[in-house]
């Protein structure tokens, strides 16, 4: 029994320490200093994030008999998630200081850290048991977070929908796993892969795989496993929505990639290639079609994030290092873009309680900075150069086409045509803010320091990530 193996899990352990620290702080801090919990938590997590970039955490290692893996790529993806979580935390400061919420704000940060821990496990797990635990850790406490706004009915409804779909999908997922186990006799990724290479594809495997894909597809909100998404995003408190839409999705995407490549890589063309084609096309198209009509900004972004998930899947479909790097880069850019959008939505919601698109009419005249940030976010999500979104989209397409078959060209073409639809609805927001002649219903207001900091970070990311090529070059270098 070699307990030094825990040292491989530096990031997880630091995260847990932070978690416990916040827990203790929240429990034992005097009532009057409670409002500092959020800031302390942000600072702490900021340090943690910075620490992630230290060279000491790097290095490939398999621990716990191959159950846990850490590598440069994994550390990087965790760092990417950390950045996102940090922004979410900063954005959440103002929200968590509200009267209705502040009594529970310590728990908000604790749950945030706990679910992040779950995501770390999902990413690092090389054994399905650990993976399932990670998955559940990442999704169950989130249900509590979704239900955080007790004074809002939508929050309850969203929580119910989330938790019921989540447990159902975990049941389906585990059902699939049980068949995989039956076929291969192991839950270690490497062993399964070896066994599958030997036996190839079968009905049972494909059905099991479909269940597995459905289980993770739930987290990624791939169509047709996406139906909870919009309702939950709409109902959840805005910081939780942004957390769900970027961090949870990003982690799931990477975990999905690991599972499909490492575990089922050998049955790529025999099993999941076509499944993924179908899912990608469905996801992008249906997400887009639903997004066209939405007028609630959070719901709108929910559908937009569904279709974004489809683009992320293209990186998985590529089955090559370029796809991996493009996926990481896409998630990174997506974090900044989407969080910028949610930052603006949250700021406006906190100040005025308005979340509908028509409330954004003429926003530029009253709150030009918010409008500008929102526009950048929309352009980046739509993939307009020179913003980061363009680069991420371009690279993910390039990565996908690297796979080389004619089918992938068709797939990419469909995805590209869908970008037009998505551009349409992103422009609707821009139109409301800049073009609409109506008087703005949102009066001029000053957003809080924390919101501004978060937005500045996001804007900086949107503007710089693409043009400053070293980020992607780094990701590509480590992926190769």
């Amino acid at each position: 029994m070699d307990y030094t193996q825990f040292l491989a899990m530096k990031q997880e352990i630091w995260l847990l320490i932070a978690f416990i620290f916040v827990f203790l702080l929240d429990t034992f801090m005097p009532k009057k200093d409670q409002d500092k919990v959020g800031v302390i938590c942000c600072l702490l997590f900021g340090l943690l994030t910075l620490r992630g970039f230290c060279p000491t955490v790097l290095g490939d290692q398999l621990a716990f008999g191959g159950m846990y893996e850490t590598s440069t790529v994994i550390v990087n993806i965790k760092n990417i998630l950390n950045i996102g979580v940090l922004i979410v935390m900063i954005q959440g400061l103002r929200w968590s200081a509200q009267d209705m919420v502040k009594i529970r704000r310590g728990e908000f940060y604790e749950l945030l850290l706990a679910t992040l821990f779950g995501m770390y496990l999902m990413i690092s797990a090389r054994h399905f048991l650990l993976f399932v635990i990670g998955l559940e850790t990442a999704s169950l406490p989130l249900a509590a977070m979704v239900a955080f706004d007790k004074h809002r009915y939508e929050s309850h409804e969203a929580a119910v929908k989330y938790v019921l779909t989540a447990v159902f999908s975990s049941a389906v997922f585990m059902m699939g796993l049980s068949y995989v186990y039956g076929l291969t006799g192991s839950l270690y990724f490497s062993n399964i892969a070896t066994a599958l290479t030997a036996q190839g594809s079968s009905w049972l495997l494909i059905v099991a795989l479909a269940f597995v894909i459905a289980g993770i597809g739930f987290k990624l909100s791939l169509v047709p496993f996406h139906l909870w998404t919009a309702d939950v995003y709409q109902g959840a408190p805005t910081p939780v929505t942004s957390y769900l839409s970027v961090i949870s999705k990003g982690a799931a995407a990477f975990a999905f990639l690991v599972i499909l490549w490492q575990v089922f890589g050998s049955v790529y063309s025999q099993a999941w290639e076509w499944m993924m084609y179908a899912l990608i096309i469905l996801t992008i198209t249906v997400g887009n079609l639903f997004a066209i009509r939405q007028r609630n900004m959070k719901r709108f972004l929910a559908f937009s994030s569904i279709s974004q998930a489809g683009y992320i899947m293209l990186g998985i479909e590529a089955m090559n290092p370029m796809g991996l790097s493009a996926l990481m880069f896409y998630i990174l850019v997506y974090i900044f873009s989407n969080l910028a959008a949610f930052g603006v939505i949250g700021a406006i919601e906190n100040a005025t309680g308005k979340v509908y698109m028509q409330d954004y009419n003429g926003l530029y005249k009253t709150n030009p900075r918010l409008a500008f940030t929102m526009m950048l976010a929309m352009f980046s999500l739509a993939g307009i150069p020179p913003f980061a979104g363009f680069f991420s989209k371009f690279f993910i397409f390039t990565g996908a086409i690297n796979q080389g078959s004619i089918a992938i060209y068709v797939l990419v073409l469909i995805a590209l045509i869908n970008t037009i639809i998505s551009l349409y609805y992103y422009l609707l927001v821009v139109k409301a803010m800049f073009i609409s002649d109506e008087e703005s219903t949102v009066a001029k207001f000053n957003s809080s320091m924390s919101e501004r900091v978060a937005m500045w970070i996001c804007v900086a990311g949107i503007l710089c990530l693409g043009i400053v090529s070293c980020v992607y070059n780094h990701l590509l270098a480590i992926a190769a």
């Binding site: 019921l164 447990v167 186990y181 309702d231």
Partner: protein, 103 residues
């Protein structure tokens, strides 16, 4: 007669399908959760049976089941907490009534 593996797998599958049926048809959310327990239980049976029949030399399936039971408990706990929360707010646990957000 040999009680081969399929004899265990099929009842488990039926159990799972019952769970699915219940989950989709029940209006009471707690009843839905009960159906869900059936599904999780079916999964557990599967793991155990595979482990026992095909890979008797190791304990992966068994351990998975062990942990799955814990996970099921956690799931149930948090689900019930949320359902009770909803009950407090709307005095009702009918899933059909929670359709405010749609389209």
């Amino acid at each position: 007669m040999d009680i081969t593996m399929i004899y265990y797998l099929v009842p488990a599958l039926i159990m799972f399908c019952c769970g699915v049926y219940g989950f989709i048809t029940r209006r009471n959310m707690i009843a839905m959760l009960i159906s869900l327990e059936l599904m999780l239980n079916a999964v557990d049976i599967n793991f155990v049976v595979f482990n026992r029949y095909l890979f008797p030399g190791q304990m992966e399936g068994m351990f998975f089941t062990l942990f799955a039971i814990a996970i099921a408990a956690a799931e149930t706990a948090i689900s019930i907490a949320i359902i009770i929360n909803v009950y407090r707010s709307v005095k009702n646990v009918k899933v059909d009534d929670l359709t405010e957000m749609k389209n």
